[in-house]
Structures are given as structure tokens and as C-alpha cells.
Symmetry: C2
């Protein structure tokens, strides 16, 4: 059994044990998350006191477990970990994921020694280690999760993430926008399994179409480059580098014990390999959403539909700042559209075009506008909070009806902006987002974010020799 086959057991284990399942502990939370995420195989809680946890028998030691154990989640104090690793090796455990912290990330000699020791013990026993100081694995097709609100449904996006907190936040942010995952790993200190292992693994993984990564630092630069290049030549890769500034690098060192490396080097190596670089988690989600849901536009000419003059002015500025065009509506098309309008409606017949409250008028306008041959992309701009009166919910629902109908009837690439930081409209906001996502549309939270993401998406395909761009 080679190292990659063993790593595979972390994503598709036949059985899982959790060490450190006392009451009100991380171990107990891991157990409950696993129970709620639909894992099919046996689950073995471990704690010296034995007893029961969430209805399952608790074993005093891994040695007492009757069946085979593929994968162990370790939540016991650092000083007890070496003995657990010895026991795991003896038991034939393929992978141990260590939530436990207190190793090299402390910067102390003691922590570093302890980490070296468990690496030695695991290596001798043929057990692979994830972490320490990490959340471990989320693999929905196996029913494996460490957070109970992650989606149970699987999808084509993989996440390789050095931070547990960033893993969790990213999955939640992306899930709200319709993204589903193949494999997610939070790998912390990377004492054994690291980003390069995962890049190799995911390049071959048939369930994974694209890979997002948050990396604080790498230890073997040569291998990193080879595996990244190999992965990026087969699948889109987008990277958020943590510790890109000198100060951030110092923080990264104390977080995951990472050496961040020069930012200029990162910039050039990512660029050379066609890897998309982003600077925030939100941008990382924007890119993943774009690659999953946007059809490649043939050019940069946007047809924007929305409501509100001032919102349209600012949205237009944002499009222009990212190098997009908003061609004016040609006279013949304007004439056709004007035919649908009550002359007193006060709509602004330009691009961006405003949609009003009358479903049929709105549909006819949008349908004719969007289908116009001079546009490459429909951008639907739904700005919350701009409307003074209780008609907003109605308007935004009608607007959504129209956009979805037009989207189904045309093959024009389409993107949606739902702009709101207002807490008091969050319920309706979430419902609308759900409708757009269910229709397979990419949703963004500002026009500027949408334009930046689409710009990078077009750039990626241009470099990769995709369909010819007009204009």
C-alpha cells in the first residue's frame, strides 16, 4: 500500500475512531458532527473512562476496538499523542488527523521535538498524519465532516487549506452560494501530509474539477512547484497566500510554524503556472463560484439590468474600472423596447437598464435587451436597501422571475449581483440567493467583486487558449 493509497483512506475511510471523547470536548463535537453528517461505517469513540457517548460505546483505548480502524481523529493532549500513534501503527490505522495543538507552531524546542517524534513513530508504522493543529477532513461523499452545518451533498470543488478557521469559513461562505465539495482538508502544521501531497492526489481525483487553496508556507519548494504545475495543467487552481506581508509571515510562523517565503517569488510562480491568485477569502469564493457557474463570455461587453439610477451609476463605474464595456442600446433595439413601455413609466432606456414592477413589460424588455448581439454577458444587479417602501420584496421577486426566465431562454452567460449589508433584509436576501443559486447562476455581493472575478476568469481562459474573445 503506497502513501497515496493510505491518504485516500482519510477521504474514504471504512471506519473512524475519535480519541478524546470526554464530555464537552472537541472529541465529543467531532463525534456529533460525524453522526450528523451521515457517515455509514462504524464510529468508535475513545476515552480512558469508557462509558457511552451520543449513544455509542466508548472504548478505553484504540487497542480495545474489535474491528479495523482506517482513520483516527486525535483530540487528546499533545503529551499523550506519541503513545496513540504507536497504538495506531500497531492497529494498522492508515491516517491520523490531529486536532491537537502544542507542537512546532509553539516555536518551542519541546513542541518541535514532540512533532518530530510523532512523525518518526507514524512513519515507522506506515501511518500518515494530517496536522497537527488542524481540523482534518471533510469528504461529503463519504459522510465525513467535522462541522454539522456543512452540506451533505457532494460536488466538484476541492479545498486545500492550512487554517482550520479559514477552512470552515470558506466552506460556509461558498456553500451559501451554491458550491459543493469533493474533498476538503485542513492540514495545519503539515508535519506529514502537505499541500504537495494533496495537489498530487487531487490531480488524479475524478471527483474534483477545480482546486482552491489557502497556504501559509511550504517546506519543500521544489516538490511544491512540480505538484502545483502538474495540477494546474489539468484543473483550474486558485490560491490565497496567507502571510503575504512580512508581518503576516510572522503571524503565520506562530500559527502553523510555516516559512512564508518571498511574496515576489509566490507571485511569479503562481502566474507562470496559470494559477489564479486572490487576496481574501471572499475573492477565493468569488473565483470558485465563477468557474463553477459562469459560461465563458465571448467578450467584455456587459448588458446590465437592475433598478435604481444611483446604484447603476456606481455599478457602471465598477464595470469600467475592471475594463468592461457597456455598449449603448442601438436605436433599433431601443425602439423595439420602447414599444413595451407606458410612456410615463420613467424608465431609463440605456445600459444599465432599469426594470419596473410590471412582470410582462419587464420580461419583454429584458428578453430583447439581453438577446442583443452586441452583448457578451448579462449582469443582473439587485441592490438591496435602495428601495424606500414595502414594494422592495415584491420588486426583487419579480426581478428574479424575469432574470431566471430570460436566463433559461437564452444561452448568454449570466451573473447576478445581490448587494446588501443590511441585517434587517437578510431573510429575503437569503431566499433570493437560494433561487438564483438553484438555477445555476453565479451570485456576487457587489458589482466590483463580480467584475474582478469575471475579468480573471476571462484572463485564465485566454491564457489557456480558450474560445476567441471579441473586442
Amino acid at each position: 500500500m503506497n502513501r497515496t493509497t493510505r491518504l485516500n483512506a482519510a477521504f474514504n475511510p471504512s471506519s473512524v475512531a475519535i480519541a478524546g471523547v470526554g464530555p464537552v470536548t472537541a472529541g465529543k463535537w467531532y463525534l456529533d458532527s460525524l453522526l450528523s453528517s451521515g457517515f455509514k461505517g462504524p464510529i468508535y469513540p475513545i476515552h480512558p473512562n469508557g462509558g457511552e457517548a451520543s449513544g455509542l460505546k466508548v472504548y478505553a483505548s484504540i487497542r480495545d476496538i474489535p474491528g479495523l480502524v482506517d482513520y483516527v481523529i486525535c483530540c487528546i493532549p499533545a503529551r499523550l499523542v506519541p503513545q496513540l500513534i504507536r497504538d495506531c501503527a500497531e492497529k494498522g490505522v492508515k491516517v491520523v488527523s490531529l486536532f491537537t495543538s502544542g507542537f512546532s507552531e509553539t516555536g518551542t524546542d519541546e513542541g518541535k521535538r514532540l512533532e518530530a517524534k510523532i512523525v518518526r513513530l507514524a512513519g515507522a508504522g506506515g501511518t500518515r498524519l494530517i496536522g497537527p493543529n488542524c481540523m482534518g477532513v471533510y469528504s461529503p461523499s463519504s459522510g465525513l465532516s467535522f462541522v454539522s452545518d456543512f452540506p451533505r451533498e457532494a460536488g466538484g470543488v476541492a479545498l486545500v487549506c492550512q487554517s482550520g478557521g479559514n477552512t470552515i469559513y470558506f466552506v460556509r461562505l461558498a456553500a451559501e452560494r451554491g458550491i459543493r465539495f469533493s474533498k476538503v482538508i485542513s492540514y495545519g502544521n503539515a508535519c506529514d501530509v502537505n499541500e504537495s501531497d494533496m495537489f498530487e492526489y487531487l490531480a488524479e481525483d475524478a471527483e474534483t474539477d477545480l482546486v482552491a487553496a489557502y497556504i501559509e508556507g511550504v517546506k519543500d519548494g521544489g516538490r511544491f512547484l512540480r505538484t502545483l504545475a502538474g495540477l494546474a495543467s489539468r484543473k483550474p487552481v486558485m490560491v490565497l497566500k496567507g502571510g503575504s506581508t512580512g508581518l503576516g509571515a510572522r503571524t503565520a510562523a506562530s500559527h502553523s510554524g510555516s516559512l512564508s517565503g518571498s511574496d515576489a517569488v509566490w507571485t511569479s510562480l503562481l502566474q507562470q503556472n496559470g494559477v489564479i491568485r486572490v487576496h481574501t477569502l471572499e475573492e477565493l469564493v468569488d473565483m470558485v463560484v465563477t468557474f463553477r457557474f459562469l459560461r465563458l463570455p465571448r467578450g467584455r461587453r456587459i448588458a446590465m439590468v437592475g433598478g435604481g439610477g444611483g446604484a447603476s451609476v456606481l455599478a457602471t463605474d465598477a464595470c469600467a474600472a475592471s475594463g468592461f464595456a457597456l455598449p449603448a442600446i442601438p436605436p433599433a433595439l431601443a425602439e423595439r423596447i420602447r414599444g413595451f413601455l407606458d410612456s410615463d413609466a420613467g424608465l431609463i432606456l440605456t445600459n444599465p437598464i432599469e426594470l419596473n414592477m410590471f412582470p410582462e413589460v419587464t420580461y419583454n424588455i429584458a428578453r430583447n435587451f439581453i438577446a442583443g448581439e452586441m452583448f457578451d454577458l448579462m449582469l443582473a444587479n439587485c441592490v438591496f436597501g435602495q428601495h424606500p417602501w414595502p414594494v422592495f420584496d415584491i420588486w426583487s421577486d419579480l426581478f428574479c422571475d424575469t432574470i431566471l426566465k430570460v436566463h433559461h431562454e437564452t444561452d448568454k452567460p449570466a451573473a447576478v449581483v445581490l448587494d446588501s449589508d443590511l441585517s434587517n433584509q437578510e431573510g429575503h436576501f437569503a431566499a433570493l440567493r437560494q433561487r438564483y443559486c438553484a438555477a445555476g447562476l453565479p451570485v456576487y455581493y457587489s458589482t466590483a467583486n463580480a467584475c474582478k472575478a469575471v475579468d480573471r476568469f476571462i484572463g485564465y481562459h485566454k491564457r489557456a487558449g480558450g474560445p476567441k474573445q471579441t473586442e
Copy 2:
């Protein structure tokens, strides 16, 4: 009575009439908003059909109203507006605010002629016009509002805004973050009352401490420069210029009939007058929040407290990118802080510092850390969505307790980042924001936004010759 005195009637009217109060009309919504915002004087709805609206007698014409009318909100079709203006002049109305659109913003000769006509009629009668194509005035100290969810409480911030939708969105965004307003005006096409009138008025207004503005274009550049310089020499001014790109300018022309002017000219004239320029509504809120709630830091050295290693790495990168320092914790201070810690707690003893779940420990750490003489600003970083298990609500409440307690006990400037785009945590998010705002703290939605705002704030005071900055 001079022009400014008349303008004052829009913010402090003794009586208001609303023209166009039919069922399910903008006029009816204006009426209901006014009724719910606590206006003390008489309110006169007008509609040719008469009858009743929201319990008030509806007058067939303004001429039939028995008492004096200071301020009229006009929601009738454009073609009927000239007669209304004639009637208003006769009645001695001081200001008419025109929600009605269909004037110069249409770009048609007819629309321009109609606008010129009402300006002529109003001028002859001594009536001032706000708009057309605008929302009008929100003046909480007079109980005057056009949106029922705007705060009834007044405050020191004025907003001068050419877009009705942007006015509404801005007030709501700012209100959620603790901002209260003196005078807000949405002035649309600016056929009479314009940004320069408002700058003059607000420079003298004792209730206004700072002025935010959204401007698409100005007609009299010379007067604009004079009034802006006059205002900016007395109060902080921050401007969002809509139509800053060529494309955006075209959209602005069709929105409010504005000539946007060269962006380079705007940049230089704003800079020369010490006006802060922003590029999004969110940035405009960030700046207003900063000027209202942040004590001026003496330098750029941040003490950051928060939770989560990966979140801290990205937050540190954001601080560094805006030119802030995060000095390492000196050995003596580290020793003192270590004294409060259980050695197994696994906290990262650096800057940013992590706070755990034990209130007393957390308080002692934060108190000693923040009070350190090598820091100029406390930045509390509360990242939602990073926590895997149901302890997050508890953690974020404890964290808030600690931050508020330390804030009250030290005179260190303090800012709070509440980072969340997650809909499912919105309720708790809003509750926490409310707690921080009630304590008078500036709240931001990302570290990058906080740092950009504080950087501009420090820059403003440096230019103005504020307290000497260290480092």
C-alpha cells in the same frame, strides 16, 4: 426672507403638504412614512378625489388647505407640476420637493423645457425647489422622513446625495452601525437647490459636525469650489463621486442629467481642500463611522486581539498592506501575560493575540496587552463563521464583554471588526454589532476596510495639523 432661510424650511417645516396621495401611490407612502416618523406639525394630503388617507382629510387642491404650508412633497405626474408650483407660490410655500421624474434627466427637449418652466415659476414666486427626480429631505429632529425605518433619533452627520436610492441605502447602512443624522437631502436633478447650497447651509448648521456627499455632477464649478472649500475648512467632508469613469458619467447623465466632469479634476480639487474621497457607499460609511467614533490614534501601531490563527494571518496582512505596524509583544509583557495562562491553553502569545473562553483569563490578557505603551490602537477582530462548534455564540459574547470592559478602562483608541457574510449567523451578528455600537465603538466589516478608513482618518488629521504622530 432670503434663499437660505427658505431652504431651512425644508428641514424644519411647521407644516407639510403632500400632492398626489392616491391609494397605492408614492404620495401615500410619503404620507405614511411622515406619520410614522413623528412629525409634529399639520400634514395635508392632496388628491383631486378628496376623501381620507391614513385617517387624514385629503384636500382636492393646495388652495383649499386652511393653514399655512411651509413644505410640499410633490408626487403628481410631471405634466401637472407647473400648475402645482403656481399654486404653491400663491400659497407662500417655501420649498417644494419633487419626487416626480420626467424632466431633464430624460435627455429630451420636452423634459428640459418642463424643468426650465418650473424653475421659472418657482423663482418668480419665491419658492425653492428640491429635485425633481429625488427623495427629498430626512430631518429627524423635525420628525421628517420619507422612509419609515430610518432612525427617529437625530445626530451630527449630514448627507448630501444626488441619488435617492443611494441616500436610502447609505442611511440604512450607517444607521446599523450607530450613525445618526442631522440633515439628509436627496436632491436629484438639482434644478434649484444643489450641492453648493447645501454646503453653504451645512457649514453654518450647528447640528452638523461632518458632511458626507454623493455627487454625480455640478453645474456651477466656481461656486462649488468656493462652497466646498468653505465647508471643508470648518468640518470634515467626505465625497463619493458617481460617474468617475467615462461609462459611469454616461449613466449619470441619464440618471440625474449631470455633467460629471473630468475625474482628474475631481481628484485634485478634493485633495486640495482636504476632502476625503471614497469610491463605494461602504467606504463612505466606513469613513463616517471612523470620524464619529474613533479617537485619533497617536501613531500606527496596532494591538490586535481576536480568535483564530488563519483569520489573524489574513488580518495581519491587511494591516501591513495599509502601512500599519503590529509590534511584537515585548518579553516583559509576554511574561506578565503568560502568568494568567494555563500552560496547556495553546494560545498564541504574539500580536495578534488570541482570546480563549475563560472570561477572567481573557480579561487579564487583553487588559495588560492593550495598555502596553507600544500600541496606539486596539483592533478587536471578531471573525464569524470560523468556529466549528456551537461555542461560537458564547465565545463572541465573552469576547465582546472583554473588549467593552477594557475599552471603558483605558483611553486607547479602539476599533472593532465584525467579519461575516454568513446569512445563518445574521441574528447574532446584528446583536453583537448593536452592543459595540451602543458602547460608542466604530464597527467595520473587514480588517482591510478598517485599516483603510483609519489610515485616511490619520492622514486627514495630519494634514489638518492634529496631534503629532509617533513612528
